[in-house]
Structure formats: structure tokens, C-alpha cells
Symmetry: C2
Subunit: 267 residues, 2 copies
């Protein structure tokens, strides 16, 4: 973790603004090449995009209301989009910019673990987008946004899901629960399908994912509110520091007993 | 695929604007509840965010220049951020909005497969963000953005990486290549580390990921340019339609010969 922080900041210092074709900082002012010729940019634009100032303004939200929105939004824009929308749609009203400028509906593709590929569960991806955009990325001065996202993935992996129970459920009957032990859609959905004996296209599987999405939105707002109150102490880690490779913790689930050792620096 | 499309559009119709707390469409005009009371919104805002109109304006970019930018940007904001920046930084200059409003630097967390967890490779995640934001999400009228992202993940999985060779490389010597057969960071990086016998923190591993990022940026712009010319015919698929679960195609790599069958609709 400490090494990773050092790596990030060292790389940032070394390569900041080199050859990116974006901005030339001159003593006489801030000048950039544009398609139409040379033009003066405002200081805000010169730092990058107009929304790249962190943290973004946040007001505390109600976790239950946010979860209720996420549940309904799943049936419009699925897991990742719904988590983002559940938070940003409220902040568009309560705060305005930069939330109005963020293209929430563009993130529908997070569904099914990125377009049905079963990689990261979209509710994890959406939550990471929210924490990193509100708290800010590491180069803005704090790792808290990234670590809150990492903490959420561990929480998701450990939880018996879904936690959220809708007031007006889309499906009737008891909702089976399962523990993913992974942030991946394929593993999470697969274990639930086995536990529930329901296929991917069943109304129950869809409603399970809508409820997982709402569960995520609820917990996400709990953490954001704690951060707003100055009480957030991250439980997040950067797993590669422990494993010597970017990884989740359930090694044996894929590797069985034959977990490979990564090459070490001395080799 | 066809079923998936039907599912999406049916869900969209059914739940559009229900209980999202965002917008009420009345015969008298567009009215929304805001934190400060009731107010009139512009038509653009009423549709959602101000940037949620697709496709986003695109002008053709030079693949080689884009790859060169991505390579340098990796050393500032890592794989996912660098892919987004390599395209959007040029479009900020050539087009302006909505690219100036998009918080590129907020996506540093895509590194290491989302904060070091080894899930989707950030260059895949970044490329998917770019294709879905430029071409638009499925509810904007076309699946092409999502399918271009899916096509890119298959291309990434099949390619002997890295393809890109920098003019001024950060590391000397021959760069080993490997085939991931997966869009996941853990699998992709792990296979390369094994092939190269280099550890995660080595300059060579970092430079390998910078070159993969540049390779991705190059191909991404090739596809975007073809789309701009009206010549894009997607090779992308939505894998769950074939597998009955959100999945990648290398089942035996984790499951060995014991690949489980998902529950079927008749059970």
C-alpha cells in the first residue's frame, strides 16, 4: 500500500503534462493549441476538464431513499448505471453541477459485468465511480475515494446478498441469499443462481440483481455520509501489495490447491 | 443477443421515469422538484444530464498519435485513465464539450483491475467508457457503443500483447509478449509476469502495461474512425446469450474440466 502510494506519486511527478498534447504552461499565461489555432484557456480548463476539481460538493443523502431509487433504476439502466443514478440524480437536484454534466445513462454497459462478460459486478463498478468522483482520485491529494471503493468491494464480497428488501417487490416469494466471496459478476451471480436454482433470464435473478444494486447504494451512502461528517476511516486496501499481483483474495477458487507464486524482484 | 435487446427495451419502457425522484412530465411543461422547491427545467436537463445526448460529436483521430499520448499518460494516470485521456484530451481541443466536462482524471482507480483487485483490465474498462460515451448507450437507440466495447475485449483477449512499441521506450531490451485469453487484469498481467519472469513492481511490468494501454488506444481509434466513416460493422457479442451466465469464454481456465451448467429456465 505504501509502496503503491509512492509509485503513484513518483510517476505523477515524473510525467505530469509531458507530451500529452493537452496543455503548455508558459510564464506568460496559459496557452493551448486548439483545432482552430491558438487560444487562451481559463485556469480551470487548463488544469484539465472543468469538473476535475475535487472533492465534488456533497450533501448527505438518505440511505433508504437512495436504495429505493437504485432498485427502480435497475429496471431502467441496470446495476452500474443505477448505483450512479441513485446518488447523482439526487445531487443533481440538491447541488446541481458537476452532477448535471455527468453522463449517468452512458454507464448502462456496466451491466452483466461489463456488457455481459461477467467481470466486475456493475454495482461495484458504479460505486467505485461514485466514490472516486466525489472524494477525488489519488492525484487530487487523498486515497480515500479509491480506498472507499476498495472497501466496498470487500464488503460486497463478504455480504450475504441481497440485503435490501423492497417495499413493493417485483417478484414474490422468499429471496434466496448467497455470499459471492468475489467482486466479480460471474462468480456472484453464478453462486446465487446455484443457490436459488434460477436461470439468468428468470424474473427472480433480475430482481436479485436489482436488490443487490439497492443494497450497494444503501451502504455507499452510509460511507459517503460518514466521510461528509469527517468520520470516515477506511478499511480499504490495495490488494496487490499483499499478493504481489493485482488480485482478489479467493485464490483457491480458481487455482484450487495449485496457487502460483508470482515472480519476485530478485529473480 | 436478441433476447437481451428485448429485455432491455421492455424494461426501459416499463420503468422509465418511475419513482426515480428525478422528473415529472406534465402536459403544462417540464417541472421538477428541487431542493429549493419547484422549478422549471430546460428540455435538455429534463432528459437527464446535460451531456446525455448521443452520439457525442467525434472527429477522426490519428491512431499513432493517440497511442503515443496513451503511453505517456499511463505514467501519470495509469491504464484506464490513460485510454480515456488519449481520446478525450484530443477531443477537448478539437471539439470542446462534452469532453471538457468529463472528469478523466477521476478514473485513475481503474488501475490494477479496479484499485488493485485484478478484475477487468483498466484499458478494457477505459475503452468501454469511451465507446459507450461517444456512440451512446443502448437506450439512446443503438447497441453499437456497447458492442464495440465488447469487440474490444475479445480483441484484447486474443492479442499477443503488447503490440505498441514506443519511439522512446521507458525500458530497454526486448519486450516479452503474451496472450491473456481473458479481459481480466489478474489473468493478463499474471501470464505476462510468468512469460517475462518479472515481478509486479518491476519497471518492465509497468512499461508492459503502458504499452498495452497504448495498443488499446490505437485499436480503439481505428474502430471509432471506421464508425465515423459509417463503415463500422460490429464483431461484438453479449456473451451471456451463449453461456446462460455473464461470462468470458475461457471457462476451463478456472473450472478445469468441471465446468458447471447454469440452471435452465425449465428447472
Amino acid at each position: 500500500m505504501e509502496d503503491e502510494k509512492k509509485e503513484g506519486s513518483a510517476l505523477t511527478r515524473r510525467s505530469l503534462l509531458i507530451n500529452t498534447g493537452k496543455i503548455a504552461l508558459g510564464a506568460a499565461g496559459l496557452v493551448a493549441a486548439t483545432a482552430g489555432g491558438m487560444g487562451l484557456l481559463s485556469k480551470a480548463e487548463a488544469k484539465g476538464g472543468t469538473t476535475e476539481k475535487w472533492p465534488w460538493p456533497y450533501v448527505k443523502l438518505d440511505p433508504q431513499k437512495t436504495a429505493d431509487i437504485a432498485y427502480e433504476e435497475w429496471y431502467r439502466i441496470f446495476c452500474g448505471g443505477a448505483v450512479i443514478s441513485s446518488v447523482f440524480s439526487q445531487l443533481r437536484e440538491k447541488v446541481g453541477e458537476p452532477y448535471k454534466s455527468f453522463p449517468v445513462d452512458g454507464f448502462i454497459f456496466l451491466k452483466g459485468g461489463i456488457s455481459g462478460w461477467g467481470t466486475i459486478c456493475g454495482s461495484n463498478a458504479g460505486a467505485n465511480i461514485v466514490t472516486n468522483l466525489i472524494l477525488g482520485p489519488p492525484i487530487a491529494g487523498s486515497d480515500d475515494g479509491m480506498m472507499m471503493g476498495s472497501e466496498i468491494m470487500q464488503w460486497y464480497s463478504d455480504a450475504s446478498m441481497p440485503i435490501y428488501a423492497p417495499k413493493v417487490p417485483k417478484t414474490k416469494g422468499e429471496m434466496p441469499k448467497s455470499r459471492a466471496d468475489s467482486p466479480l459478476c460471474h462468480v456472484s451471480v453464478g453462486k446465487w443462481m446455484k443457490a436459488a436454482n434460477k436461470d439468468l433470464k428468470s424474473p427472480e435473478r433480475k430482481d436479485r440483481c436489482a436488490r443487490v444494486t439497492a443494497s450497494m447504494a444503501y451502504h455507499l451512502v452510509e460511507l459517503l455520509n460518514a466521510w461528509k461528517d469527517g468520520k470516515y476511516q477506511t478499511k480499504g486496501t490495495f490488494p496487490s501489495a499483499a499478493y504481489g499481483i493485482n488480485a482478489q483474495s479467493n485464490c483457491m477458487e480458481c487455482h484450487s490447491t495449485n496457487v502460483p507464486s508470482p515472480p519476485t524482484a530478485m529473480k
